[in-house]
């Protein structure tokens, strides 16, 4: 499939400023976003379980230019949502899709490696359809793909690009999303949840990688996180302010999040910030039967309304 995809990229290349995909990363376990301008650069294109990043995050930067983008199913939803919200123009993007079998979660690989081996010690790796083998120094360690695949992939409904101009490969069957992750979290009592976040957020360094990795954060340089007018947050290092930022992000993404999971992945200190958005996504699905990023013609549910809302069960007084 790699070669077919490379062919598709080369085909698209003459019409676009660049094609965004994945290329070699700084270590064997990671790829990096890759911006291909010349045909010879396409050789280094990487796809597969290491194609973790969501390239859609870069698209709005290229507004006014035509670009190509290689997308996993989840990435394509971000693109669709960007189009729906006018952040990206459909005619300015050439979408190359392929059937995705899931990507790895480096933290899960770390867990498999055990306490004494860090992912940074891995010298090389090989991947077969359901196994991943890493070499650390002179020893090899093989793990089941299922054990290291990102959580979002386990409930992936759209393994194929939702919209594409070029599609390479045979579409895959999607799974259903039963929000098992939320259900698991909700085993905790209200007080336990409070304590959980108090602990987790105390680690936050306010780097805003979660925000900047989000393909649907539109404000970018004008985020309220650091503004004084409006002054929602102070800059003191407190869990309250840090948690509040997560709630801002979740609120702003309510009904818009496409579930790419980049916020959680980007977090350098491993805070599961995706849970906030997942909660909003589930609510949007239940209340408004809305799934962001599946149809560029729809309006996000919080930017519209219905005069009757049968699914909203208001409190009786």
């Amino acid at each position: 499939m790699d070669d077919e995809l490379k062919g598709a990229i080369r085909k698209v290349l003459p019409d676009v400023d660049c094609v965004i995909g994945w290329g070699p990363g700084p270590d064997p376990l990671r790829s990096a976003p890759f911006f291909m301008r010349k045909p010879e650069e396409v050789d280094a294109f990487v796809v597969g379980p290491l194609a973790v990043n969501n390239p859609a995050v870069f698209l709005p930067e290229y507004k006014g230019k035509k670009v190509g983008i290689v997308v996993k199913g989840c990435d394509s939803r971000s693109v669709v949502q960007q189009i729906a919200e006018g952040l990206v123009k459909r005619e300015e993007v050439v979408i190359i899709g392929f059937p995705c079998s899931g990507v790895v979660d480096i933290q899960k690989i770390a867990a498999q490696l055990g306490q004494d081996i860090e992912p940074g010690m891995v010298t090389s790796l090989s991947i077969s359809s359901d196994k991943l083998t890493v070499n650390v120094k002179d020893t090899a360690k093989t793990m089941d793909m299922a054990d290291v695949r990102a959580d979002k992939c386990a409930s992936c409904q759209y393994p194929n690009a939702v919209v594409s101009d070029e599609f390479v490969g045979t579409p895959k069957e999607g799974k259903t999303d039963d929000y098992a992750d939320l259900a698991a979290f909700e085993e905790k009592s209200i007080d336990e949840r409070f304590a959980f976040w108090e602990q987790e957020m105390s680690r936050c360094i306010r780097c805003y990688a979660c925000r900047n990795a989000c393909p649907l954060c539109v404000c970018r340089d004008h985020c309220v996180a650091t503004s004084r007018e409006p002054h929602w947050l102070n800059q003191a290092d407190s869990t309250r302010e840090k948690l509040f930022f997560q709630l801002i992000h979740a609120t702003h993404l309510a009904g818009r999040c496409t579930g790419c999971g980049e916020c959680s992945r980007a977090c350098p200190v491993g805070i599961p910030v995706g849970l906030f958005k997942r909660t909003m996504t589930r609510a949007a699905a239940r209340l408004f039967d809305y799934q962001a990023g599946t149809n560029a013609e729809t309006v996000p549910p919080l930017q519209t309304f219905a005069t009757e809302e049968p699914t909203i069960k208001e409190r009786e007084w």
């Binding site: 360094i205 306010r206 780097c207 990795a213 350098p268 200190v269």
Partner: protein
């Protein structure tokens, strides 16, 4: 060596517990999927093998701290006022300094983390201005550096004059041996810190064992490339927008690199108030954020992330050198690479810059010119391989 101590693995927690009775003890521990420096809590464990996700700089340079506090005083109500005069109840403000820092020990920080203080000192302990908040903490903090037995693929301290067993700025060097820790005092302050009865005199052979571990780590770092002329190269590429745009294409402009970086030392100052009271806070800031340079008028000298990445790399590998006798302000810990959500690799940028600069006709390097009035220091030429030197004058 006399003064070397041995701490049995089983006694580590007890010793830290003992220290924390009189001092603030920072030590790395696992939290979630990260390794972070926290105040020591025996119940929450220690992590002395994996590399800490964050640097230990917050021991000296907290994420936020109070610079001063103030209160607007209640006006004197009912004070008689003369006709036609400005009312006498004008605002009165009272300004206070914050509290003194606690004596602190950072246990188990990495060599690169300690090396980074070399970047902080000339800035915060400058010839003109002294940052008292930093200095007081600096004076009150003992660094116990843990030598690296393993290195990661993102480690490159040897490129920038660092070492897996770096002792620069360290007070004690700690090396994990098979059954415990060899603690080698580096400074007098370090020696004084090693007085607990839990610490035994180290067996003679331990020093050799430690050296072997150090050498092994050094070896696994591989060879460092020659970074000579990197500052000139970066200056010559200052206006090469295409170069910087390519380098920054994948950058998300978040603050992960700078906040995890042991040498990044920029901050913002903001006032927060409640009713009549307020504080002036200093908090970490990042040059990767657009807001960092955004002016009130809306003008932004570094509005593009390309310019901001240029500034980060430039600061570490060119600007700081010019003002600080060739000192590179990167300690090679590799955190910015390891934790970058977009896998931006500063090593690659530096290497590319050297190649790119060599490929274009070398422009006249910016000459030290007659400054308008007074440039505090003439730009110093880069010396050697950017290896760290003792601070020139202090």
């Amino acid at each position: 060596m006399p003064g070397n101590k041995f701490l049995a693995t089983a006694d580590v927690a007890a010793w830290l517990g003992e220290l924390s009775k009189t001092m603030r003890v920072f030590a790395p521990r696992n939290e979630g999927q990260a390794v972070v420096y926290r105040e020591f809590d025996a119940a929450k464990g220690l992590e002395l093998r994996r590399k800490p996700t964050e640097s230990a700089k917050h021991a000296l340079f907290p994420r936020s701290e109070e610079l001063l506090s103030f209160s607007y005083l209640r006006p004197a109500f009912g004070a008689p006022e003369k006709e036609g005069e400005t009312p006498s109840d004008v605002s009165q403000v009272q300004v206070k300094m914050p509290v003194e820092p606690m004596p602190t020990v950072v246990f188990g920080m990495l060599g690169c983390d300690a090396g980074s203080v070399t970047t902080f000192d000339p800035i915060y302990d400058g010839s003109k201005f002294k940052d008292v908040y930093y200095l007081k903490k600096r004076q009150a903090t003992v660094f116990i550096v843990r030598a690296c037995a393993e290195v990661l693929s993102t480690c490159f301290c040897n490129w920038v004059g660092g070492d897996p067993a770096n002792t620069k700025n360290a007070d004690v060097l700690a090396t994990e041996l098979s059954d415990g820790w060899l603690l080698q005092p580096v400074t007098e302050r370090g020696e004084k810190a090693l007085t607990s009865p839990l610490l035994k005199d180290a067996p003679a052979a331990s020093e050799g064992q430690a050296t072997a571990i150090h050498d092994n780590a050094r070896k696994s770092l591989g060879d460092a490339p020659n970074l000579e002329g990197i500052d000139a190269a970066l200056f010559s590429l200052f206006a090469d927008n295409d170069f910087w745009q390519r380098q920054s294409a994948g950058c998300l402009a978040c603050g992960t690199c700078t906040y995890l970086c042991p040498t990044c030392h920029c901050f913002s100052i903001t006032d927060e108030t409640s009713a009549r009271n307020g504080v002036r806070l200093r908090s970490w800031d990042t040059c990767m954020a657009s807001l960092y340079t955004l002016e009130a008028s809306g003008h932004n000298p570094r509005s593009l992330k390309a310019a901001r990445l240029r500034n980060r790399v430039g600061h570490k590998f060119a600007y700081f050198l010019r003002n600080n006798d060739g000192q590179i302000s990167c300690c090679g810990c590799g955190r910015c690479i390891k934790s970058c959500p977009s896998s931006v690799d500063i090593r690659q940028i530096v290497k590319d810059a050297l190649v790119q600069a060599a490929s274009i006709a070398p422009p006249p390097p910016p000459q030290p010119v007659a400054p308008a009035a007074a440039s505090p220091k003439p730009a110093a030429p880069v010396k050697g391989k950017g290896r760290t030197k003792e601070k020139a004058n202090g």
